[in-house]
Subunit: 386 residues, 2 copies
């Protein structure tokens, strides 16, 4: 993967219906160009599918992270989950990339479970939130984070340890800013209005650079952190952004746990995966065999191709072959779906296998691992000098 | 004190320049009339100066508290302190009345130390807030609450135990309501905007009626609690309101710790008290001896008289004599000031004496007493059924 041409836009490197460069301009982030991509890979010591395929494509201050890293300064990773229901493949992809970063750079990961925000945002009962949180945490632990360098925490449980910090952060954000960034209104409850302070808090868990892996649309929510961090004596958070993953049912939709057709759930059986892909995966192929053989498939809207390209198919040569044959009409939708089914079954199957034995990992990442113990032993009061 | 005439407005029962009846109408509270006053005294088993002198003069749902109490249902008291500086006599008066209520009705008292809100409201450093909080808590403990039925808690320290409840309360209050009641604006920080949830929280510490003793101007801030309490399965809070205590320097001012001339501080020495009263106590007497002898003093603006009447002088006959002689010009300002100095020295001296041995009381009310232990052992998640 040192050949620069691999990173250029090719017929099999297609982006659906989103103008991703426009999003970079709109939000003011930086493109992950060849130079920074190679630097990441060099520092990490290995390549990653998402980088190679340009699925991870934008960043903020990743260059600074790498510069510091070269000089022996490490950083930490921060991500989170809103426990509003079961998790699907779209949720877990970002955790897998975060795990890769953790392993490659040997850094701490903090994972916030927003069991307060989901009550404010959706008026969901604690009972339901807590049931979801428990399931979600098990899925996340199964991803394979380092149990001694990962801290998964539920805000409602951990607030006692971080409230001092949250108070200071909240004091630096005013209603107008929160409203401008999050769209809060008069009818928004004061809990939700307070949420930006809690969301920002983990970016100050260590006095090092924080790196947030997230989809590009999440970027604006970190503007607040970047406005206040230096006033508090901390670093502006860095970020590394992915493109969007289209819903199974088509590139205009969003995967949603409440609409099972749109997504592969992490607990789907091999049979369910097969059935869902066959029945629901949106095809860019022709509507008739004749049309397909003549015009070929539109890869930019074909969900099977998109998922294989962005998320699943490691083998570059095989992908190129699929792109060529499917876009020319030689390969049929049924055939590419078979490849997707196989890849999904393997990915989900391996995840489910790890989940079988995740209880101990959950315990370590939440309470007993080295980092978890350290976090429970301290109060985080935002005194960067300490 | 069963003679009804004692409660009527008399020449020595004067109110300065505030129209207290108008405040009752404005806020929609109830007058403490003879009937309810006698009921309170009867249930309490004893009278109190502040009630007798009409200093405690308005209420909400005090009738319901008393009805319940007659039927064997008890209630609990809730008050608080903002640790923004040293305490003066104006701050402690309300605590002394609360202590009297606790003793008379044998009920629990919760005292919130708002070490979060003071950061949000005044951008005060934690260091300064914590120093003030420590001093303030010692003053409060010296008032003499029952150490096994009193819980003094600092929000930043106790948040871990009450955050579940705070989350639920915050979910029931929207930005518009908070803004209408507290006057929050776009420039208000999101911490302060969240404050109403934390302020309300202790009214739900028990599934009984809560009674808040406070100055009448605090009443509007409890509208939010009264709007949401029943939705959460709890009681609307009751309240019992005092009039205002004029600053030492005159009825138009407010006592303030940052302007030592305006107040008697709880750590003033007998000499300081004497000096302050002589130099600063606003006089309603004539400007010359001749004028005073001719027209007498205006009791309604004379701070010495007001403080003796509302707060300090137990002896009704002596008070009546002072009123008569001072308003007629027979008694001079210097003479009533001497009486005030003596009463203040006695009150503050007794308080300071109790404060000498308050460390153990602080420890009990915050951590080791029966109620404190119970509160530290539980999470308050607002499940009224539990």
């Amino acid at each position: 993967m040192t050949d620069k041409e691999e990173y250029e836009v090719t017929p099999w490197d297609v982006e659906g219906n989103v103008n991703y460069n426009e999003l970079i301009e709109k939000f003011g982030t930086e493109r992950i160009d060849d130079e920074i991509r190679e630097k990441i890979i060099e520092a990490a010591g290995e390549d990653h599918l998402y980088l190679r395929r340009d699925f991870i494509y934008s960043h903020r201050d990743m260059d600074k992270i790498l510069e510091d890293y070269e000089e022996g300064e490490d950083f930490f990773l921060y991500t989170g989950i809103g426990p509003s229901g079961k998790m699907h493949i779209g949720h877990v992809i970002s955790f897998y990339f975060t795990k890769w970063l953790q392993k490659a750079f040997d850094v701490n990961v903090y994972i916030q479970v927003t069991d307060d925000e989901k009550h404010w945002d959706r008026d969901m009962s604690f009972e339901e939130i807590d049931k979801n949180a428990k399931q979600n945490i098990r899925e996340i632990a199964a991803v394979g984070f380092d149990p001694d360098k990962t801290f998964i925490f539920r805000n409602r449980e951990y607030m006692g340890n971080m409230y001092d910090g949250v108070v200071k952060v909240a004091g630096k954000i005013n209603n107008s800013t929160a409203s401008a960034v999050f769209g809060f209104e008069g009818s928004t409850n004061i809990g939700m209005n307070f949420w930006p302070a809690i969301q920002c808090m983990p970016t100050f868990f260590e006095n090092k650079r924080c790196l947030i892996p997230a989809a590009i649309d999440q970027d604006p929510y970190w503007r607040i952190q970047r406005d206040i961090a230096e006033k508090l004596g901390y670093y502006k958070t860095a970020a590394i952004h992915s493109k969007f993953i289209p819903a199974l049912t088509g590139p205009d939709g969003k995967m949603s746990s409440s609409k099972p057709k749109t997504a592969i759930m992490l607990d789907d059986s091999p049979e369910e995966i097969e059935k869902k892909v066959k029945q629901n995966a949106f095809s860019g192929g022709g509507t008739t065999l004749e049309e397909h053989r003549e015009k070929g498939a539109d890869l930019s809207v074909d969900v099977s191709y998109q998922w294989l390209h962005n998320l699943l198919l490691e083998d570059d040569e095989q992908l190129e072959k699929i792109a060529r044959e499917y876009s020319s009409g030689e390969m049929l939708t049924g055939e590419i779906k078979e490849i997707l089914i196989e890849e999904l079954q393997e990915f989900i199957g391996a995840h489910q296998e790890r989940k079988e034995n995740a209880d101990e990992l959950v315990q370590q990442m939440m309470y007993d691992g080295d980092l978890a113990q350290e976090m429970w032993d301290k109060k985080i009061d935002l005194e960067p000098g300490k």
